[in-house]
């Protein structure tokens, strides 16, 4: 028998334990499983740590990683600077290897961290309550749709076509489950914002909520005040937001949003091929009992000491079962920890400066591109740090050339929509240095 560093039982101990149990062999512990199920797994045999790490390192090096590239691609996952302290502190085993904080007395670290996180999300979104995370931005958006149906009992969701396409698809899948109808609302071809007249024409008594992006998938900032005005009071406004942008944009809560969700990855989480990040989820206080997911609250113990617990657990699956507000159990708490440490380090000014720089750099590049005659900025609506340009030539071959210069170029929107062939979504953040931007702009001028 090879040695397994994770399995402590020695042969002597195994004998002793079997005797204590009153059986003769390990096999006897498996006699309740019908013999015909016996199987030899045909996967490779065990290996030592050093061989596994060598092989995995080699596999990882078959990927081009973002640290070696100039990244001008976003579309839901963003490359930001992450201070070293984030990973270094979060890596502590007391965070990483703890379970859900069901035993509050020995989970105060987790619970307080989540409570602080909820406060930060409330601040950014301008909403009264935040839960302690969903799986990702897309599923948070879908759960928001289901929540609106729980609240007002109507059966149709309107979603702007300018919301992230993967979010739209996820909303549809969840609504297929809930037997809820989903209608898409066009975006205005000029501004890139939701088409308010199309929105109005699609309103009806059975519409539960309208979902918009802030900024939307095209980077364009929706005028939430106008969207709110366009829909009746008894229709909910669900906003899917970029948390970095919220540092400089008016909080959706102040513009009439009922539920605000989004992907939390930009807050201190590495991109990881799109997961794990986390979904943030915030709403008005009036709806707290309809919310999905775990919520942390402050309370006291018998001696009057402040402590934190999971509240309103009677909404959740382990108590309410099929009547629960959602099936979610495990969430993305560890990723929330990364975000909490990140937000604590950068602070209000830091996050605003990150957002402002992303804005500044993106607008500079957009201006440069405006002057190139073979490339055309597409939308006139105000944008944050991403914008769409139409290329005269084939975008995918342009991207291949850029990649040779170690540039991860515009996201090809033709892969999402047939009517956006050779439209590229360009993204900038504070992590794009000015000299990178100059180089990229120069290459665009030459290649086009």
């Amino acid at each position: 028998m090879p040695e397994f560093p994770y399995l402590p039982q020695t042969e002597v101990e195994i004998e002793e334990m079997l005797r204590a149990i009153g059986v003769k062999s390990i096999a006897e512990l498996f006699t309740d499983i019908p013999e015909k199920f016996d199987v030899d797994l045909s996967i490779p045999a065990s290996a030592d740590e050093f061989t596994v790490l060598r092989d995995l390192k080699e596999l990882s090096q078959r990927n081009s990683n973002l640290n070696d590239l100039s990244v001008f691609r976003g579309g839901g996952i963003y490359k930001h600077f992450i201070p070293s302290a984030v990973q270094r502190i979060a890596g502590r085993g007391e965070f990483l290897t703890a379970y859900t904080p069901y035993q509050a007395e020995i989970s105060q670290g987790t619970l307080q961290m989540l409570f602080e996180y909820q406060t930060m999300i409330s601040e950014l979104t301008g909403m009264e309550v935040s839960n302690s995370s969903m799986y990702d931005g897309a599923s948070a958006c879908a759960e928001a749709a289901l929540m609106s149906v729980r609240i007002n009992g109507k059966t149709k969701i309107l979603i702007s076509q300018a919301v992230h396409p993967e979010y739209i698809d996820t909303v549809k899948t969840y609504c297929f489950g809930g037997n809820i109808q989903v209608d898409e609302v066009n975006f205005d071809r000029k501004s890139g914002q939701i088409d308010l007249s199309d929105l109005k024409s699609k309103l009806s008594d059975d519409v539960s909520a309208v979902i918009v992006g802030y900024p939307n998938f095209f980077g364009v900032i929706e005028d939430l005040r106008e969207v709110r005005k366009a829909i009746p009071e008894n229709v909910m406004m669900i906003v899917s937001a970029n948390p970095t942008a919220l540092a400089i944009l008016r909080a959706p809560g102040k513009l009439g949003a009922d539920i605000v969700v989004g992907e939390g990855q930009p807050l201190g989480n590495p991109p990881y091929l799109g997961g794990p990040g986390f979904g943030f989820f915030a709403s008005k206080e009036a709806y707290i009992r309809k919310m999905p997911g775990r919520i942390i609250g402050e309370t006291k113990d018998g001696e009057g000491r402040t402590g934190y617990v999971m509240v309103l657990q009677t909404r959740e699956q382990h108590i309410r079962r099929n009547k629960a507000t959602s099936n979610i159990c495990s969430n993305q708490a560890f990723n929330v920890l990364l975000a909490s440490i990140y937000m604590s380090l950068v602070g209000p000014k830091g996050l605003q400066e990150i957002a402002r720089r992303s804005y500044d750099k993106a607008h500079y590049l957009a201006k440069r591109i405006e002057k190139m005659d073979k490339v055309r900025p597409v939308f006139t609506g105000p944008f944050f740090s991403e914008f769409v340009v139409e290329f005269k030539k084939d975008l995918s071959s342009l991207n291949s050339k850029l990649l040779k210069d170690k540039i991860l170029g515009p996201l090809d929107l033709g892969e999402f929509r047939d009517d956006m062939k050779n439209h590229g979504l360009i993204c900038l953040t504070e992590a794009n240095r000015n000299e990178e931007i100059e180089f990229f702009a120069g290459r665009l001028e030459e290649l086009e």
């Binding site: 090879p2 994770y6 399995l7 039982q9 002793e16 149990i21 498996f30 499983i33 016996d38 199987v39 030899d40 797994l41 045909s42 996967i43 490779p44 030592d48 790490l53 995995l56 990882s60 990927n63 973002l66 691609r73 201070p83 502190i89 703890a98 379970y99 007395e105 670290g109 987790t110 989540l114 602080e116 309550v129 799986y135 289901l146 005028d223 944009l249 008016r250 590495p270 991109p271 990881y272 091929l273 799109g274 997961g275 794990p276 707290i288 617990v309 509240v311 099929n322 099936n327 993305q332 708490a333 920890l337 440490i341 604590s344 950068v346 605003q352 990150i354 750099k361 201006k367 105000p382």
Partner: protein, 482 residues
Amino acid sequence: MTIFDATVEGRTGFRLPEEKSYGFEPIDVLPEHLLRDSRPELPQVSELQVVRHFTGLSRKNHSVDSGFYPLGSCTMKYNPKLNEEAASFEGFSQLHPYQPEETIQGALELMYNLQNSLCEITGMDDFTLQPAAGAHGELVGMLLVKKYFELKGDTSRKKVIVPDSAHGTNPASAAMAGYDIVEVASNKDGRVDLESLDRLLDESVAAIMLTNPNTVGLFEKDICEIQKMAHDRGALLYYDGANLNAIMGHARPGDMGFDIVHLNLHKTFSTPHGMGGPGSGTVGVKTFLKELLPVPVIDFDGQKYRIVYDLPDSIGKIRSFFGNFGVLVRAYAYIKTMGSDGLKRASEMAVLNANYLRSKLVELIPTAYSGICKHEFVLKGTKLISEYGIRTLDLGKRLLDYGIHPPTVYFPLIVDEAIMIEPTETETKETLDHFAATIATILEEAKENPELLKLAPHTTPVGRLDEATASRKPKTRWSKGS
């Protein structure tokens, strides 16, 4: 003290590179009502303050790294450090989901191989790695069921059967897929009652969700009969694989006739629970459901790994991008390390540890069911009430004073005062002996001074917290001066 209480205006733990601004300001373009009117009140603290704050918080947590964690149904096994090392490689962590296929061949290969390994371990034909957790996998499974019958044109099946011992996510997930839930009772042996099942299983049933070994740690011996019954009547069979840790290399859900399986990689495959997530609830299916899996799927054409979106019968997307890739890397590292021999051995040792601990504890507290168990077992704490006037909860809370995480209590619902214990294979015999001895000590305490238990814990950062008041008027965020 919260991190907000430490704020001093002007302090920060962050510095950006010095760079020339291009002079573009949001205020130049955006109407005023779309500009932030007040600064988000995030903490203003130095880097060392942040480090001390979070280090302080971490010390208030129990964790696998700090002590025994026999939390039933949660498989709190050791989370190997090598997994963390592998997941930290920048060739995995620094990947953008919209990078061209040819620049992420290593990542796609990892996912493809992991799919295949999971197929082999479970006896299924195909896998999706996308679901973010077990419950998410269950939802995917139930949507597959729904789509399957929809494509077949069978619209009469509106119900899903779930045992009364099932985890709460099972009925909740089936309900989210639009199904009515029918509960099937367990018999006195803790297994699905075949007669009741027979009665409930009619043409209106779309699927049966089973956990095997079930939540009381017993293998469903009648699985072949159940399988036949379900399929004869046209229903699909769903396997909650959260408990696979008991049977790797000994039995496979696919061979038992299950059509859909979800696995919790954050249990059996050693990825850390991270205070409640991220997890990964990968879903395996038999070939006839392959075309219905969520998009994208990862494929291999013999030369290149490909991301395939074109699957007309797919249930669609269930989240963004590819799943919790960082978690997949860890599970893959674990499977590589353990291999076919190690996985089988891990299951054997998990079952050995459980039965050994059980044999020591039955002398103190009766078990709910007799016979050998698999990876976990359930004790019945009613004796604590009758003999000492204490509840299971009190026993659990007193364990905290001894630095041990309590077992899962009051679940499954079919056992009164349930105490559900899952030691896992990574614990030593000494730890198990110590646990049994501690339970004995606590029962002695219960005899002599029950108040000691009722008021426990005494040594933790806080005592029992007032959850009722906290839920009546929830305070869910910090605010100045309160």
